[in-house]
Amino acid sequence: MKTLKMKRMGVSGVLAGLMLVLLAGEVLAHGERAQLASMRMRTVHWFDTKVEPLNVKVGDIVTVTGKLMTSEWWPKQMASIEDTVYLNIGVPGPTFLRLHSEVNGVPMVRSTAFPLGKVYEYKTVLRARVAGRYHVHPILNVKDSGSLVDKGTWLEVAESDSTAPFTNEVTTMLGDTIDLENYALGDVYGWHLVWLAIGIAYILYWLLRKELFIPRFIRVRAFGQDRANEIITKKDFVAGGVFFTLTLATILGGYLWAEHKYPITIPLQTGKVDVVPIEVPTGDLEVVVDSASYALAGRSLTMRVNVTNHGDSPIRISEFLTANIRFLNPNVTESEIYPGEEMVAKDGLSVSVDAVAPGQSVAVELVASDALWEQYRMTGIINDPDSRFAGLLFYYDDNGERFFQEVGGAILPAFF
């Protein structure tokens, strides 16, 4: 965990802690570690996640971009992303405004569907709204499956220089410029007060009387149910009529008033949009997984794969990505690490073969090993009812062009 500020405090009591946390304003947005390890490996592979800039003030723009690939190993027991999915962002409540979001160039105001085994490039433009330190995660909400979370990036949002309250102004199609932060709240308060007043008046009419629960109980019982209505006086009856009429008149009046004030209104808008997916750039490399295992007591995953290079340029395997953890091969320098990026094991991947020559077919052993494996509870796969894995293998040709493809299969624990 990265909340080092908390650790520095030592054990100076909860109150002191409270104060520091208040000052730090540090906010996590997690939950993904509770998800099953195999689910995280076999749903969506997020990569190239970039959040910039990392230090902003309230009112500033933050852009989140990245790519994702939908796994062909999608668990059958989970509702599929091929049905309904929504691009979202994981921040603690509306600490940011989402001004724009798109996938493969299509605006993502609404939900869509992603076929499996395809690549999608997304972009979300945010505007900082509440000061604090946030862990920002791109998220996909998949209908009936829940939230699929990308890794987070820490983002500092400082108070704005201006003391003016935060505003969020938009112009309606009728030409009015409105501030969504307090849009039409005057009407809301006003009408609620009207109804509260009428309601309280009605309640007080009944409760502010000399004879209430017990006396009425005694009288109703004495009258018997047939004559109990005699306890309702003529005055009550008239009051009932007055309140009834007043209420109906106020409902009608309010309705007509609003119709007059807002003559043009539309129903809520919904419906899915379509996105054209991007094919996976696999290059000319064929990868077949032979076997895979992970050390139960350790922090590594070992894969034995058969690799065939059908192209005319040597290929070097640079990275294995699974469950948002990047295991990088230190011998291949092209891989980029973005500012603030987490869950990167810089020399986490060892590859038994340096480069796969054109036309060569070779067995390769890949060992992905880092403390992150443990920290993100990947050894928990032993507790999953479905021990299979998947991940993305990245590789480069001689021209420095990046390719990738998904690998996956059954995975066995190694107990010793």
């Binding site: 965990m1 909340t3 996590l28 997690h30 603690p92 209908k143 939230s147 109980f217 005694i218």
Partner: protein
């Protein structure tokens, strides 16, 4: 352990032969019980609320983080120990000191105990209002902006492991006290009271169903989802408040009518 009632029945510190008015005065004493305990639980509620507001999003979003284990799990353990021991100790004490001879309880003492029962209910009512205005929707707001991780999430630690159990922790001893101290309830069981207690009590076991469902067939934060309707059904146990209230009303009416009657002479 059950003891016979030998308490004095003087409701007024003055002499007993002052007539009905002086006897009445005892029923109008400022109710310190309600003020003290009402303020106490509201203070606890307020403290928890402030804790949730400051520590919820800061260190409460990831069960597997060290911060969560430091700042939230001790709260949970503390709550469970506090409420568990409060309920058990008080319930056992009230049962062990129960009274068996209803005939030895005078009408004035009985009426006094009804007022006390209402005081207990008033404290619970204050707490119920606090839960309704604070706790219930905090869980809604929380789940709709954060990703569900485990059952031990800050709003659950407050509402599921403190707020609602605290109501149960008050209801169970109140139920036992009523059934061992008030003649009309002694040696039998009030069905509406039992229904209210059971309904609120069963909310806790129902978390089991709720979380079980969330583990596999229900992943999203739709609050009006069928998986939550178990709580709704249990909330309906409050329908029994009406028969319970009228049970109380008919008993108290008679007692008040008798003890305030002109020709009433104090019973032994």
């Amino acid at each position: 352990m059950a003891k016979a009632n030998t308490q004095s029945v003087a409701l007024d510190s003055g002499t007993l032969d002052n007539g009905a008015d002086s006897k009445l005065a005892g029923h109008f004493k400022r109710n310190r019980f309600v003020y003290t305990f009402g303020a106490l639980i509201l203070a606890v509620g307020l403290a928890l609320r402030i804790y949730l507001d400051t520590m919820g999003f800061t260190v409460g979003t990831d069960y597997y983080s060290d911060e969560f284990q430091t700042y939230w799990m001790p709260v949970l353990y503390g709550e469970l120990i506090l409420l568990g021991s409060f309920t058990v100790i008080l319930s056992v004490y009230l049962w062990m000191t129960r009274e068996t001879d209803a005939s030895s309880i005078s009408k004035e003492l009985e009426l006094q105990r009804y007022w006390k029962m209402l005081s207990i209910f008033s404290v619970m009512a204050v707490w119920a209002g606090a839960i309704a205005s604070n706790a219930v929707e905090s869980d809604a707001a929380w789940h709709q902006v954060t990703i569900r991780d485990t059952d031990f999430t800050p709003t659950h630690i407050i509402i599921f492991y403190f707020a609602l159990p605290a109501l149960t922790a008050m209801l169970i001893p109140a139920f036992i006290w009523t059934h061992t101290r008030i003649p009309a309830y002694m040696n039998k069981v009030s069905i509406p009271f039992l229904a209210v207690v059971c309904g609120i009590l069963m909310i806790m076991p129902n978390y089991g169903f709720n979380e079980w469902g969330h583990t596999f067939f229900y992943a999203e934060e739709l609050f009006a989802a069928p998986i939550h309707w178990g709580f709704v059904l249990l909330g309906w146990s409050l329908f029994f408040l009406i028969p319970l209230a009228f049970q109380l009303i008919s008993n108290m009416t008679r007692l008040i009518a008798e003890t305030t009657a002109e020709d009433y002479s104090q019973s032994a």
